[in-house]
């Protein structure tokens, strides 16, 4: 697939901007139908499997859609009022490329601020990207956590 790192970076920075702005419906549009979104337990190897390991988040496309609907409601109490989020993305690399897709990794730091506290999520993302009607789209996104646990953050109530 002929896509440059700069184009991938533009795409990932746009994703981060949508998440910072809580524009989740627009964010969901970045995913190809059938896409998955996952957050495995801290310290997991890249090939970790949600069919055999207990994750924090393992959404298929249906549940990802439902997650967005949920977070858009005031009854998603943990995010009402909405927290302020800041998604920092760096070290973007295209690690492999085939005719119909790219594997991309990036490092991230995401800050979530609410009620006088700022929580930090950090780690790396692995994306499988593809082109749909000529536009970059996410086929899979897995967000790996570096922290040993979520004792300080408590939850993954935002999209990291």
């Amino acid at each position: 697939m002929l896509v440059t790192r700069a184009e991938v970076e533009d795409f990932l920075f746009e994703e981060a901007a949508l998440l910072d702005a809580w524009r989740l419906d627009d964010w969901l549009e970045l995913f190809a139908e059938g896409a998955c979104y996952r957050v495995p337990p801290a310290g997991s190897p890249d090939e970790v499997d949600p069919a055999t390991t207990l994750f924090y988040v393992a959404d298929d496309y249906f549940r990802l859609t439902e997650r967005v609907k949920r977070l858009n409601k005031p009854t998603a109490h943990v995010e009402f009022p909405k927290s302020r989020c800041r998604h920092l993305v760096s070290n973007v690399r295209i690690v492999s490329s085939t005719e119909d897709g790219l594997r991309v990794t990036s490092n991230y730091v995401t800050y979530r601020t609410k009620g006088g506290r700022t929580e930090t999520y950090l780690g790396h993302h692995i994306y499988d990207l593809c082109l749909v009607h000529g536009l970059l789209r996410i086929r899979n996104k897995t967000s790996f956590l570096d922290t040993d646990n979520l004792n300080e953050q408590g939850k993954v109530s935002i999209i990291v």
Binding site: P41, L54, F55, V57, A76, N151, G154
Partner: protein, 428 residues
């Protein structure tokens, strides 16, 4: 009754007025450091505390390290097959001996002066051993074992008080619900790889309450029921009329009830398709062969949330979770949660189970994060306790029958908490 509160009109942290059907808890129990210190001494140092499941160290030489009740422990299976628990501290200068979360080996070696201990905790090697006298008493330089370690059907608990009552007596009526959970497997149940570890900005007792609180379900978890409706198109398929809390003795309590969600053991939902319906029908038929249809139905359909005093939760709901939580400070706790599953489960059924687990449970689920918010708000609210000083746990008092959305199960917890904090104990 209860622990004296200096300078208060009422002399107890827990006040039960059966005549007026009022049950109240002083909010200072959630914020005072001296209450926490007393809890450590009278509760965590004296009650049976959940350590681990048998399946986490299946083979000789397997070990794990875990913090339980404020102590750092090593839990190891010896070459004789026996599981033992030790304090993870070198008898020499105190360094933590084992630094890995889990592993397999023949011995533990302290990195500081290279003292080495076998799987029974016995010192087996150290540099310049000849410089120690032969007169040193036997065992002085071994790892210190935990006073009491015992298991009920593979659930290992520790007790730091050598004179505590035995585990089986302690668990009392809770064993019935452990049995209901474990009996769904013929091969045995196992912890599924991966632990969820997260913190709550709230006192540990608030999570004990929340874990068996039927009343908060609809308001707190409205978005979860929205999701269920979208996923399954119904919220009425309960399969059981059971709806009651039960006192299981020694402060343990349970609520048992029907619910609309799917249960990986044998209550399918639409999303599992014909294959899922066939798989669960086969599991149900086998349960009926083994236990008769009445108990099979109870294992298949009945949900329960059980709190084994003080801090072990077994929730057998849309998946099975074990959960423990320990205070860091009055307003902060650390939670560990595991998923339990039958060893013989098919890959498809296991996948459905874990998918189900995450729809509700844990830091990324559609429900637990809102519990996190509820408990955080409670803890913040207690800043007002000088003016607004009491929690109310009266719901259902004075009624002929208790239901799961009443609060009797929490009153059971609080009566035991109050009894122990008043200095009562159940030593042998």
């Amino acid at each position: 009754m209860g622990l004296t509160v200096p300078g208060r009109a009422s002399d107890s942290y827990v006040v039960e007025d059966r005549q007026r059907s009022v049950f109240r808890v002083d909010r200072r129990v959630f914020v005072d450091r001296e209450v926490l210190e007393r809890e450590q001494r009278l509760i965590f140092d004296r009650c049976w505390l959940y350590l681990a499941h048998d399946s986490e160290i299946p083979n000789p030489g397997d070990y794990l390290t875990r913090k339980v009740g404020g102590r750092e422990l090593i839990f190891a299976r010896g070459t004789d097959g026996t599981a033992r628990a030790f304090f993870n501290t070198c008898p020499h200068r105190g360094a933590m001996v084992c630094r890995e979360a889990q592993g397999n080996g023949k011995m533990f070696r302290c990195m500081y002066h290279s003292w080495a201990f076998d799987l029974t905790g016995k010192l087996v090697a150290r540099p310049e051993a000849e410089r120690y006298s032969d007169n040193i008493e036997e065992g002085l330089h071994d790892l210190v074992p935990v006073a009491l370690v015992d298991d009920y059907r593979g659930l290992f608990f520790v007790n730091y008080a050598a004179n505590a009552i035995d585990l089986s007596s302690y668990l009392a009526g809770a064993k019935e619900y452990i049995d209901l959970t474990l009996d769904q497997s013929e091969a045995g149940m196992e912890i599924v790889g991966g632990v969820q570890e997260y913190g709550f900005e709230a006192n540990w007792k608030l999570l004990a309450e929340n874990s068996c609180d039927g009343y908060h379900g609809l308001p707190t978890h409205a978005t979860y029921f929205d999701y269920l409706m979208a996923a399954d198109g119904q919220l009425g398929n309960l399969q059981t009329k059971r709806n009651e809390p039960r006192d299981l003795g020694n402060g343990h309590a349970v609520i048992e009830y029907g619910a609309p969600w799917g249960r990986p053991v044998a209550k399918p939902v639409a999303a599992w398709g014909e294959a899922g319906a066939a798989d669960t029908a086969a599991i149900h038929a086998r349960l009926a062969d083994r236990f008769g249809s009445e108990r099979a139905d109870r294992i298949a359909y009945n949900n329960f949330n059980m709190v084994i005093f003080p801090n072990f939760v077994l929730n057998n709901i849309m998946a099975i979770t074990f959960r423990t939580f320990f205070p860091d400070s009055p307003g902060k706790q650390q939670v560990k949660a595991w998923a339990l599953a039958p060893e013989e489960e098919s890959r498809e059924m296991r996948e459905r189970r874990l998918y189900n687990f995450l729809e509700f449970l844990g830091p990324g689920g559609f429900a637990t994060p809102d519990d996190c918010e509820a408990l955080r708000l409670c803890q913040l609210g207690y800043q007002n306790l000088a003016a607004a000083g009491w929690n109310d746990i009266s719901k259902g008092m004075g009624q002929n029958e208790q239901i799961t959305t009443d609060e009797e199960q929490m009153r059971i917890f609080w009566r035991e908490w109050d009894r122990r904090m008043s200095g009562c104990d159940d030593e042998r």
